[in-house]
Symmetry: C2
Subunit: 321 residues, 2 copies
């Protein structure tokens, strides 16, 4: 059931012994929002702990600074930035998928898997939503909380580049910096530090670039071999996914990333005349208007043959959103 | 002579028949700040016109939208984002270099070439300074003015990535978006549109990357031939200059760009422990703590042999700023 902002604040006021969940393959927003929420709840005198489906990638380890682990039986479960219970990850879904009490999210495509859902689909990040909730709860935004929330706001917007940014996003970033967020350090870590192998990966991926529909569709493919050769992980490829949409004339950028089991994750990035989330919905996925994703279990070429006609039809319709 | 904010506002209140100058090889900040100032002065009932040393690059043409040309004898000359009269460009310097009444700037290295200088060296962009001046003048920030100022704020900060960003920068960006700045469109144009030739250029420049001082110094070189082959201009290389600092472990990124006359422009980008502006001052240049520039009239290898010992000494000192 969808609930409004006031009800969400009430739930956070009244809950205790809280378990907080992120989505699998966690990014800066799900982790930043979750660690900020954890610290905010503790500041309000509650017990709170985190669970992620797999260990937190090293590049996001700083978000956990100052969040000591805790051990207790959870009485209330909150997910942050999770649009669908299957996105919790296999083990987490099995354990908690049907037991989430409150989903705090910013995906218009949220599947309402939780008992109650507070979703702001116009929000650029889940961290932006968490910030507003924490402020309403009377939480003091300490430097560690500000660092977490700034990371979420920055990473989900390509550092304030994307069209999901609003005046509110910048206002919140301003307030977080005033509260001590070390934006310069965080931006260096998140956006300005390229592994030596990354350039090799980028070169390899770009040399395999495919263009369709008179250059309006750009397809990139990242195989496990490429990732392994470059010593890069899934958390290093955001920039390549962003690149798929950046070539002059491209309206749809589609990046296939091979998963360890041989299936493919498709990340779709579009410009303002094409609805990425509607395209991914055709294949059982979802996301946002300009950034969405879905999965293919077949090999890449077969998947591409299924994908291309759909992309072409959306180009024609120009489904604005 | 340096003047304070209040005096700068008074000068803008009292001036008329204003000529506004930008620096040569104009970027989003000098042009955005100048076109915003022009519109603001006109809104206050004054005559104002622009002069640039060379035609405005096509990618910035949108900033001039709604700014009709005007013809009159100038009675007051203002430069925006110009730290030194020689940066006005050869023809402009000859015409106006010793006649600038007011320099509005954000470079701590401003050479005080104008009769009066209002410089905020802590400001991320000159456009941020112009915004505050226009607000103090009572100018209504219209959509075209907001577009100009947002462009300046975004381009001089790598879209809010760099360490020059402050809480104020984000607050102003928020207000500009509220005033109608089309941030999504501007960001797409400025940061998300790569010419087909750009990837070729990037690949060529990266394949010539040189690392020194155990990988702490990264040197990139962009020749005229590379630019011509890729059909790219000087305005397309900001991203490569930024890249010079992004390799893991690099503290100083130095990019040599060959000028049409065979001399070299050096663009320096550093991390927080190295003062770029102090290094460039050694060679007669200047700029900011993390981003600065200077010129070399000799060939690149000779220039590099002069530059490297200075870079190494600054690495050792770790001149923080």
């Amino acid at each position: 059931m969808k609930i409004d902002f006031k009800s969400a604040v009430q739930r956070l006021q009244n809950c205790d012994d809280v378990l907080i969940l992120t989505h699998a393959n966690p990014d800066g927003d799900t982790l930043g929002g979750a660690f900020a929420l954890l610290q905010g709840l503790r500041q309000r005198g509650k017990r709170a702990k985190m669970h992620t489906d797999a260990p937190i990638p090293p590049r996001y380890a700083f978000l956990a600074a100052g969040c000591a682990e805790d051990c207790f039986d959870e009485a209330y479960i909150i997910s942050v930035d999770v649009a669908d219970k299957k996105l919790l990850g296999g083990k987490t879904q099995a354990l908690y998928g049907d037991r989430v009490d409150l989903s705090i999210d910013h995906h218009g495509t949220n599947r309402m898997f939780a008992k109650e859902t507070y979703v702001e689909s116009d929000s650029a990040s889940a961290s932006e939503v968490v910030y507003l909730l924490l402020c309403a709860l009377g939480v003091v935004i300490t430097k560690p909380i500000a660092d977490c929330l700034y990371t979420g706001c920055a990473t989900d917007t390509g550092c304030f580049r994307y069209s999901n940014v609003t005046a509110r996003t910048h206002r919140i970033a301003s307030e977080l910096i005033s509260c001590g967020a070390d934006h310069a350090q965080i931006n260096t870590l998140m956006f300005e530090t390229k592994k030596p192998g990354f350039l090799r990966l980028e070169q390899q991926v770009l040399s395999g670039m495919e263009l369709y529909a008179d250059g309006r569709i750009c397809v990139l493919t990242i195989t496990r071999t490429m990732l392994d050769d470059a010593d890069c992980g899934d958390e290093d490829i955001d920039e390549l996914v962003a690149l798929s949409r950046q070539m002059e004339g491209v309206r749809i950028g589609a990046t296939f990333k091979e998963r360890p089991d041989g299936s493919y994750k498709l990340s779709l990035r579009t410009h303002e005349d094409v609805d990425a989330s509607a395209i991914c919905a055709v294949f059982g996925g979802g996301g946002h208007a300009r950034a969405a994703g879905c999965s293919f279990s077949e090999d890449r070429d077969t998947a591409l043959q299924r994908l291309l006609p759909v992309l072409r039809s959306f180009l024609k319709e120009g489904t604005a959103r």
